[in-house]
């Protein structure tokens, strides 16, 4: 394993681990705040129990998210010092703002978790909302920094030197809005369905359990609403990609030729040697339409750039297909749930639907991992798109396979512990 590959593997593994806990830390507070708000309004004890139970799970996940996020902030320098020396000041603004948002989240989470009997009821609810705000903003700022790597703006290069740095312009780069929107919706959508899925599992065994009925109702509503919003943000993202990162889009679609009326491919195996994609189900002209709102628009293919400037096509293509597939199932779960609830005017607790939602429990997380694979691998070979290659950014430190394996073992160990702990927490109920 080369040091570059080890560094990439360590970064990918750290991100893949962190993001699970990060999205839970972002979205669980919404569920908690809704439950607590319903308790304040109705004074039904079950809502308070629910808020407290969810808070316990969140406490574990938040702590793992906070420490794994700390690891990432250091790894930026430990693995990619040349990138940070170049980009640190330019993308410093979102990172600084993220620092404050994270502060807000941590402070109010302490108040929320330990303050049930210490502070007034509405102050406690307010603390929950600040956790939600802090978490959501944290996520948005971090993704903004990533968006800059995809569409770098806010600086110019004169004689190889970075000058005219404008941190605000860098923060408001063309990908910021589409990426943060897509990720934020994904967080709420994923966690909504994951939680709904867990409670659906218990409802199948104990259909009249009030605790699980209320929990299922809240979680499914959150998941369902955000599921309906996600296609809109996906469409915005596709159009941004077509404009600013056409090669990434081409890799996602395994589109080799630059052509008018390009088809949308479902499945298919891209071959990087023969530069063609076989066995795909092609929907004629659909890609041109999705990318440019015009069935005959020209879509750039991978062959437009030399092979050394292309990302690994197969990984990006497969990851994209997985993300879309999971997303479609979740959207369907949201639409069906909404329709059942509207038609029968009650909680959609049909056994087959509960089974379906239980099946959906991990899908959001899979979609998020796959989506980040698309974003990150699709940007390769660049770390800063069209400015700096990943190979130029890596540290001179040798034997990087050692920290990679070390962190991998550590994170696998933590994952196992978290699963055991959550199982205990969940089955206590």
């Amino acid at each position: 394993m080369t040091d570059l590959l080890a560094a990439r593997a360590q970064m990918a593994m750290s991100l893949a681990f962190h993001i699970i806990f990060a999205v839970i830390g972002i979205a669980m507070p919404l569920l908690m705040v809704i439950a607590e708000g319903l308790w304040l309004k109705t004074r039904e004890e079950v809502y308070l129990t629910l808020a407290k139970r969810w808070a316990k799970g969140t406490a574990i996940m938040f702590a793992v998210g906070a420490v794994s996020g700390t690891v990432l902030s250091f790894e930026l320098g430990l693995l990619w010092p040349n990138f940070m020396a170049y980009a640190g000041p330019i993308i410093g603004m979102p990172f600084s703002l993220e620092g404050f948002a994270f502060f807000l989240e941590a402070i109010f989470l302490g108040l929320y978790l330990y303050g049930w009997d210490r502070i007034p009821k509405y102050a406690h609810w307010f603390a929950g909302m600040m956790v939600l705000l802090g978490g959501t903003l944290s996520g948005i700022f971090v993704v903004t920094a990533n968006a800059w790597m995809n569409t770098p703006t806010g600086f110019s290069i004169v004689n190889g030197e970075v000058t005219d740095v404008d941190p605000i312009a860098a923060m408001l780069n063309p990908s910021s809005f589409s990426q943060t929107l897509h990720m934020t919706i994904a967080a709420f959508l994923t966690v909504g369905f994951a939680v709904a899925g867990i409670h659906a599992y218990f409802l199948r065994r104990d259909p009249d359990n009030l605790f699980h009925r209320r929990a299922f109702a809240i979680a499914l509503s959150v998941g369902g609403v955000f599921a309906l919003l996600q296609p809109i943000s996906g469409d915005i993202s596709a159009k941004k990609l077509a404009k600013h990162q056409p090669i990434k889009l081409a890799a996602m679609e395994a589109q080799w030729e630059t052509e008018r009326g390009a088809p949308l491919r479902i499945g298919g195996i891209p071959n990087e040697d023969t530069e063609e994609t076989r066995y795909a189900l092609e929907i004629p002209k659909a890609l041109s339409f999705l990318a440019y709102s015009d069935f005959n628009a020209e879509v750039m293919g991978l062959k437009a750039v030399p092979p050394e400037d292309r990302p690994p096509v197969a990984i990006v293509h497969f990851a994209f297909q997985i993300m879309v597939a999971c997303g479609i199932v979740l959207i369907a779960a949201g639409v069906i749930g909404g329709w059942l609830a509207w038609k029968h005017k009650r909680l959609p607790d049909q056994r087959w639907y509960l089974r379906f939602v239980t099946f959906c429990t991990p899908l959001g997380f899979i979609a998020i991992e796959a989506g980040w694979t698309v974003t990150e691998v699709g940007r390769q070979p660049w770390i800063i798109y069209n400015y700096m290659r990943t190979a130029e950014a890596v540290t001179s430190m040798p034997n990087l396979v050692v920290p990679f394996l070390g962190f991998t073992v550590l994170y696998i160990f933590l994952s196992i512990i978290v699963v055991i702990l959550l199982r205990r927490q969940i089955f206590l109920s």
Binding site: A55, K56, A59, F62, A63, V64, A66, V67, G69, T70, V71, S73, F74, L76, G77, L78, P81, N82, M84, A85, Y86, G88, P89, I90, G92, M93, F95, S96, L97, E98, G99, F100, F103, L104, A106, I107, F108, L109, G110, L111, L113, Y114, G115, W116, D117, R118, I119, D164, V165, D166, P167, T395, S396, M397, P403, G406, L410, L421, R424, Q425
Partner: protein, 346 residues
């Protein structure tokens, strides 16, 4: 004098001081968890857990603030430090991960005493490793062994000799004793139980003396290990009165602990630690990474620093009251009134 990078450097030093006073004390709690002894060992452990539970995550964010400010405002220094000190920083990170996760796992997983004790051990050992590695890093930065070409940012390092030396480790253990002292003094006021109070009084005395010993040892080793800092500490016009002030404060702290004036000690110890960190900051200035990198030759352009400073001020206005409220709720007068057995742990 009052350049933008100087202002940012001041914010970083203040953040580091607050991190030591808050997050450092949390690590100190872990140290005393490791050394919990006697009949009251379990009572000591649960007092520590109770004391740091609501606040440690917020305290931890100060470290993130320091790192972010370092890479935004002084990117070349950040790159150099994280290249040359990759190994101690990695150990520090592993310590941070294990400390935090073991603490929550222990809090929320009390199925059996055996599991509880295991998490306790992980939490405690990680609480020792982390501040030592943080201190090693700071010591290495001051030791004039990391040579950097400012123009290209090229770091000349073998990745080991800069930190694997007596001086950085002296600073590492100096940091550890400071954490232990802060925690022991804070803990005397976290309980009404006089026996527990006496336990932590004894620990506070031991740490206060150890702090003195480590300060002396670090100063001696600095002659070889950190010549630039030694010059700053030893010969600048401010150094003699500053050392006398710090030394007097250290003695006063020992006196108050001895006399069981815990409330006074609770005020004096943070001042003592602040003086120590501040003195190091003064000795270090204008160097960020001795001998090549200064605050001014690694500073990001003003177009970056100006909005950064505005964000820091605006964010501070928002943050300070929130941080204050957290402490008022869990550490203020209200704490005593609402403290009951059930409240240990959430």
């Amino acid at each position: 004098m009052l350049s933008l990078e100087f202002c940012i450097a001041c914010v970083m030093l203040i953040s580091l001081i607050i991190y030591m006073l808050t997050g450092g004390a949390d690590f100190g709690g872990g140290i005393w968890d490791l050394f919990a002894t006697g009949r009251r060992a379990n009572a000591q452990r649960s007092l520590i857990a109770h004391a740091i539970g609501p606040i440690w995550e917020a305290n931890h964010v100060w470290l993130i603030v320091i790192v972010v400010l370092l890479f935004v405002a002084f990117p070349v220094a950040f790159a150099a430090i994280s290249t040359a000190l990759h190994i101690p920083l990695t150990f520090m990170l592993i310590g941070i991960v294990l400390r935090g996760t073991a603490f929550v796992f222990r809090t929320y997983d009390v199925q059996s005493d055996l599991i509880h004790r295991r998490w306790s051990r992980v939490f405690a050992v990680a609480s020792v490793i982390t501040p030592v590695m943080l201190g090693v890093t700071l010591g290495a930065v001051a030791s004039s062994t990391i040579h950097v070409d400012v123009e290209s940012g090229q770091v000349d390092t073998d990745f080991i000799s800069a930190w694997f030396a007596p001086f950085p480790f002296a600073i590492g253990f100096f940091t550890l004793t400071l954490c232990a002292l802060l925690a022991a003094v804070y803990l005397t006021l976290e309980t009404e139980d006089t026996e527990l109070q006496e336990d932590f009084r004894r620990r506070a005395l031991i740490s206060a003396v150890s702090v003195g010993a480590m300060a002396g040892l670090s100063f001696i080793l600095a002659a070889e290990g950190a010549p630039a800092i030694r010059r700053g500490l030893g010969s600048a016009y401010w150094s003699i009165p500053f050392h006398m002030l710090t030394g007097a404060m250290a003695l006063w702290v020992i006196w108050t602990i001895w006399k069981r004036q815990f409330r006074l000690a609770r005020i004096l110890v943070p001042i003592q630690v602040t003086l120590i960190v501040f003195g190091w900051g003064l000795a270090q200035y204008p160097y960020l990474v001795t001998p090549d990198l200064t605050f001014s030759n690694t500073a990001a352009p003003d177009t970056v620093l100006r909005p950064l400073l505005i964000v820091l001020i605006a964010g501070g206005v928002l943050l300070v009251p929130a941080f204050w409220y957290l402490y008022a709720v869990f550490k203020g007068a209200a704490r005593k009134a609402g403290q009951t057995k059930e409240e240990i742990g959430p």
